[in-house]
Amino acid sequence: MTKRIESLKVIDNKPLKKDFFIIELESSEKLPEMKPGQFVQARVDGSKETFLRRPLSLHDVDYTNNRFKILVQVVGKGTESLSRLKTKDSLNLIYPLGNSFSLPEKGARTLLVGGGCGIAPLLYLGRYLKSHSIIPDILLGFRNSDRVLECKDYEAVGNVFLTTEDGSAGEKGFVTNHSLLGKARYDKVYCCGPEMMMKAIAGWCKKNNTDCEVSLENLMGCGIGACLCCVVNTVKGNVCTCTDGPVFNTKELIW
């Protein structure tokens, strides 16, 4: 899979609730093959205060039109600057980067768990699973109803369940508190979100003997395996999140 550096056209930048927004990008060339879990490194041109690129997951891919989407949450200077991109602006990316979520066995009972901006890669993963005839449960956690994103897209690929920390939408509490986890049984769980959440889900999976893949959001210097800044400690020692990950089976991680 060849990586490339390209300035893509911003087709649309749609603000969602609160600090979230979705940027749709178009390449002037044929898109390379891009897998769920992979990410891009976005250059932030509009901000005096950022220096490095910012890693962002593939949210959805439309090969027909050579377009894809990223879903971003404003957490600091870089994402704030990206939120100001307008239709017709361009965004310089290095992509596609990283490994990807693995395909579960046929008929596997599958759960996707996402929190905050960690929900971003799950849509494209859901579509991918669906194309392989797997309809996952999708459990999404948010701070409060102000931040609950429209879930229509997700509902098209699976059965969506919600939690909010304050109970203002869906069940109250963290994703790990959701009643689903008390009832259902899964063969495979995919999870992306804050580290604390991923660790909790990994713990639950371990207890239930469920295979679990997480997508890590480690700080990145380069995104291409050159700086060794993004490491995570695994059973094989320190490996790069950007090339050996961002997706890891939790069995490999020393958490």
């Binding site: 550096i5 205060e49 220096f51 380069c222 291409i224 050159a226 060794l228 993004c230």
Partner: protein
């Protein structure tokens, strides 16, 4: 055609653009983006005798026009390098230089001897600012006595061209450059990272697991340029300048200040094509200004006094 070559003794470089250690992996990370053999050279990752895991995450923090790193020389050691990386590296038609690191003088000597037998490696870059060393925690590159000892010891065994890479965290960089030259270095490269720090005000904790780390990027360019200028005005051996070079203009500043060649570091993280763009930019600068050989502008600001 403009002449861009330079040489360290009898070792020819086709042009003055080299990638800096620790910022260009082993080259292969960049194969998708550029033809590495176009470059004057590449310096591979800091290598040690034994494998090293490096420091714990977090190892990186962004700063204004720069970044801090605390990678801590993570690498798989010289055995792995020789067996698994060297064969591929030796296919590039450019100078592949190994950056060597040790915890004590014996390590440096042993590493040098290992590299002596790698035919396709024409030069060693001796990194004397490794923060973890035996002798009472004193860093080689900031103590004139140990800087001299390690250079002397490596020079005694080294069959390759020897480039000594200086630490900028010193009162007087010129002292260290002189020592390196006196002890037989063929070239001096500088600067390594400045010791810096960052605190995360949200978590109220240091940003790096090691608290302090190495600052690189455009932020340090003025300091790097000053030191390169001081050193180029002191020693007779070629000086390789680096520190915050992001584009051709930056590179030309170093050359005008006296650097025979430059290294591109952090820039490659943001633009993997940076090194090649810099090469092209230097060439077109020379053409525009009407020069036919880069050596006409090397150290020009010192001549025009």
């Amino acid at each position: 055609m403009v002449k861009l070559g330079f040489s360290i003794g009898d070792l020819q470089f086709k042009n003055p653009v080299i990638t800096a250690s620790g910022t260009f992996g082993y080259g292969s990370e960049f194969d998708d983006f550029l033809d590495i053999s176009r470059l004057g050279g590449i310096v591979v990752k800091g290598t040690t005798l034994e494998p090293r895991e490096g420091h714990p995450y977090p190892r990186m923090a962004e700063t204004a026009s720069g970044m801090l790193n605390a990678v801590g020389l993570q690498n798989k050691g010289i055995d792995y390098f020789e067996k698994n990386i060297y064969p591929r590296l030796s296919e590039y038609t450019t100078n592949v230089i190994v950056n060597i690191n040790g915890s004590c003088i014996d390590d440096y000597v042993a590493l040098t001897e290992r590299i002596n037998r790698l035919e396709k490696i024409p030069a060693i870059e001796l990194n004397i600012s490794c923060p973890n060393v035996k002798m009472g925690g004193m860093v080689f590159g900031t103590n004139p006595v140990s800087a001299r000892e390690v250079t002397k010891a490596v020079r005694r065994v080294c069959l390759k061209k020897l480039i000594v890479k200086l630490s900028p965290n010193v009162t007087n960089i010129v002292d260290f450059a002189r020592i390196a030259e006196e002890e037989g270095a063929d070239s001096i490269s500088l600067i390594n990272t400045l010791l810096g720090m960052s605190v995360n005000v949200r978590s109220m904790k240091p940003s790096l697991s090691t608290i302090t780390g190495g600052l690189s990027g455009p932020a340090i360019k003025p300091v790097a340029l000053r030191m390169v200028w001081q050193v180029a005005n002191t020693v007779k051996i070629p000086v390789i300048g680096m520190g915050g070079i992001m584009n051709a203009d930056d590179a030309i500043e170093f050359i005008l200040a006296g650097a025979s060649a430059i290294q591109v570091g952090t820039a490659s993280f943001i633009d993997p094509l940076a090194s090649v763009k810099i090469l092209e930019g230097i060439e077109s600068y020379l053409v525009t200004k009407g020069f036919s050989d880069i050596r006409e502008i090397t150290g020009l600001i010192n001549r025009s006094k």
